[in-house]
């Protein structure tokens, strides 16, 4: 009976267009925000932070980015892993060359560097689409990773070929490096997630977002009604890469601490983020959250169930996980092509009417 829009009168356009038009949703959103800022930091321990919460927050950003490209603009990309690597390596180069620079600024600048690279590899999208474009983005994936593992300048000629994050502080509190506490890392990620989700939501419902969706639904028709495909596709690539780049920067900077391009940002990363977007829901901000949460939590649950309870070796559990993820992708595409977000939409419709059938 709580979930009602009756009596919730809108008296201005802005209130009619708000993200959460239903009072209950709005309240839930603020409660969730307050919970994640005020309660979670006190509950957080190292195990939870490292196995679920922090990867979840980082992958939400990556999934948001890829969702903008695939879900909103309809351009399939298999190069997410490489773009994350660009973000990570940009962070490394910037922060080692200019140690005085505030670390959050470094993360954002890395996003811009990735956006530039993304636009470069997005150029073919003006001419090709669909799986042709997917192959073109595979070129980005393999070429960039090769570049990062071969050219010494990118990893400052370190003997191992790895990049490792030096300690950086915000207001005197270390947020990167070994000394960073789980809570500091959590807050760094959370601030970025909230800011970028807000950005994604407002971009996708604004003018830019509509041109993206027009291109997605039918590019030729969109062109005829006056959408400039050059601007629409390249902005989608730029914004998407910006998000993915920041996610890569965070993954390397605050989570992994040390990384090697081929290991940490291989093609499997690209698929992982793609699966998050498909399972969560193409073209949905909420879907990016749900998809990332699902694919981060699933391996943890499987590990608890199979390795710790039944006593399977870890590699078997890993194979079963791969198999389940594959089956889930097919299942989601068959049963609900718009992913978990669409399931939530259906539930919402039912909730509005409940307990009356019509």
């Amino acid at each position: 009976m709580l979930y009602r829009e009756a009596g919730d009168y809108k008296s201005s356009y802005s209130s009619d267009n708000q993200t959460f038009p239903i009072r209950f949703d709005r309240a839930a959103y603020y409660v969730l925000l307050a919970f994640s800022f005020l309660v979670v930091p006190f509950l957080l321990n190292d195990y939870w932070a490292n196995s679920i919460v922090i990867p979840l927050l980082i992958y939400v950003i990556a999934a948001l980015g890829l969702n903008i490209l695939i879900g909103y603009c309809g351009q399939l990309s298999l190069g997410t892993g490489a773009f994350m690597a660009v973000g990570a390596y940009a962070t490394f180069k910037l922060t080692t060359a200019m140690p005085w620079m505030p670390i959050y600024l470094v993360f954002i600048l890395s996003g811009f560097v990735t956006a530039a690279v993304g636009v470069l590899f997005g150029l073919p999208s003006l001419k090709i689409k669909g799986f042709y474009l997917a192959v073109a983005t595979l070129a980005a994936q393999f070429f960039l990773i090769w570049l990062f593992t071969r050219v010494g300048w990118f990893f400052n000629d370190s003997a191992t070929g790895m990049i490792s994050m030096p300690e950086r502080t915000v207001f005197g509190i270390p947020v990167t490096g070994a000394a960073a506490s789980a809570v500091a890392v959590y807050f760094s990620c959370l601030i970025f997630v909230v800011g970028m989700a807000w950005l994604a939501r407002n971009l996708t419902r604004g003018n830019v977002g509509r041109t993206w969706m027009a291109i997605r639904d039918m590019d030729i028709a969109a062109e005829i009604i006056g959408v400039n495909p050059l601007i629409a596709k390249l902005t989608a690539f730029a914004v998407s890469s910006f998000f993915v780049g920041v996610a890569g920067a965070l993954l390397f900077g605050v989570y992994l601490g040390a990384a090697e391009a081929g290991e940490a940002f291989g093609i499997n990363k690209s698929f992982l983020v793609l699966f998050m977007v498909i399972i969560g829901g193409l073209g949905s901000i909420l879907g990016s959250f749900l998809g990332a949460a699902f694919l981060i939590v699933l391996p943890v649950i499987l590990k608890l169930l199979l390795v710790d309870t039944i006593g399977w070796p870890a590699d078997l559990a890993r194979h079963l996980e791969v198999m389940i993820i594959g089956a889930l992708i097919i299942l989601v595409l068959i049963a609900e092509p718009h992913g978990m977000a669409a399931i939530w939409r259906t539930i919402k419709e039912k909730l509005r009417l409940w307990p009356f059938p019509h």
């Binding site: 399939l76 070129a139 071969r150 594959g326 992708i329």
Partner: protein, 333 residues
């Protein structure tokens, strides 16, 4: 002749034989794409799965042995007999046909009329599923596959090409693996068989009709679903052949499915709808990447094979998106 030229030739020759392998995988892609408009990302993993199954049959391994052992604390490994290759290969073919039937039943049937991109993503899911299934069923360790194809440098070929050196003392003839020579012959036989099948049999004609126009084919009474099972079965058999060749060459392991990713740029070069295109594209990519690596290694370092094919395809896409032999892409609102 100077050594640079000779060694470049040898690199190109090796490229040709690698290219044949790419072509074999690409062939499977083209078959499915023509018949059902599905871009089957799982083709590479199908090759891996087929090869794994074949090795499993040959060794008489118990399927899911690792899982059984881990769950019940037993230590089963194999049935204690080796299946002769001549029986194991038809058995693996049967598994691939069964797989094709299951894919049609469980996946494709429900995705009719979906956008190509949805189907493409479904095959990515299928690829993951098969990869996990293959590893769970037969174990993830690298396996040796031996179906009786001779391996090692080919002496005959080396001796008979020595004269090409024209008195150059450092040149002993071109080195080529016997296995690669067999691969070329097998690929030729496979393509010939496919051509004969599609030109001269009833099913083959039906297959071409479906490739040409789904609805027209349906209206003259061709069963679309049967044709799909048929094409996926053929693609499965092609995958098995590719799996056998790659597997004999470098062992059956996960990297097989990554190498198979290279079939994608091959298709872009050759065109998605052309069987000769798949062959020519594969050869071009194979030769191109070996030569590029040979000439560029001193300048930009090795392992360019990882990305050369994709970059070539990318450059190609900008000028001729339909590929060398593909049909012209026409778009309407």
């Amino acid at each position: 002749m100077s050594e640079t030229v000779l060694f470049a030739f040898e690199a190109a020759l090796n490229g040709l034989s690698v290219g044949i392998m790419y072509s074999l995988v690409a062939l499977g892609f083209v078959l499915i794409f023509k018949a059902s408009g599905i871009f089957n990302f799982a083709q590479g993993v199908m090759a891996l799965f087929a090869a794994l199954t074949l090795v499993g049959f040959q060794e008489g391994a118990v399927p899911f042995a690792h899982v059984i052992n881990a769950t019940f604390g037993t230590s089963v490994h194999d049935f204690g007999f080796n299946m002769p290759t001549l029986i194991a290969i038809p058995a693996a073919v049967a598994v691939m046909v069964l797989l094709a039937w299951l894919v049609e039943r469980i996946v494709l049937k429900h995705l009719v009329n979906q956008e190509p991109i949805i189907l493409f993503m479904a095959t990515i899911g299928l690829a993951y599923f098969l990869e996990g299934l293959g590893d769970l069923m037969w174990g993830a360790e690298v396996k040796r596959l031996d179906v009786g194809i001779p391996q090692g440098g080919n002496v005959w070929f080396e001796e008979n090409t020595q004269w090409l050196g024209f008195g150059n003392e450092n040149f002993w003839g071109f080195y080529i693996d016997t296995l690669n020579l067999y691969a070329i012959v097998i690929a030729a036989i496979l393509v010939a068989a496919l051509v004969i099948f599609s030109q001269y049999t009833k099913q083959g004609r039906a297959l071409r009709a479906v490739a040409d126009d789904h609805q027209a084919a349906l209206s003259v009474g061709i069963s679309l679903r049967f044709i799909w099972v048929l094409t996926w079965s053929i693609a499965g058999i092609v995958a098995l052949v590719a799996g056998i060749m790659w597997g004999s060459k470098s062992g059956v392991q996960f990297s097989l499915s990554l190498i198979a990713l290279k079939a994608l740029p091959v298709l872009i070069l050759g065109g998605f709808t052309s069987i000769p295109g798949a062959i020519v594209g594969g050869l071009l990519i194979g030769v191109g990447e070996k030569l590029f690596d040979y000439f560029m290694q001193p300048i930009i370092g090795g392992a360019t094979e990882n990305w050369f094919a994709y970059m070539l395809a990318l450059a190609f896409l900008l000028f001729r998106p339909q590929g060398l032999f593909g049909e012209k892409i026409i778009e309407r609102v």
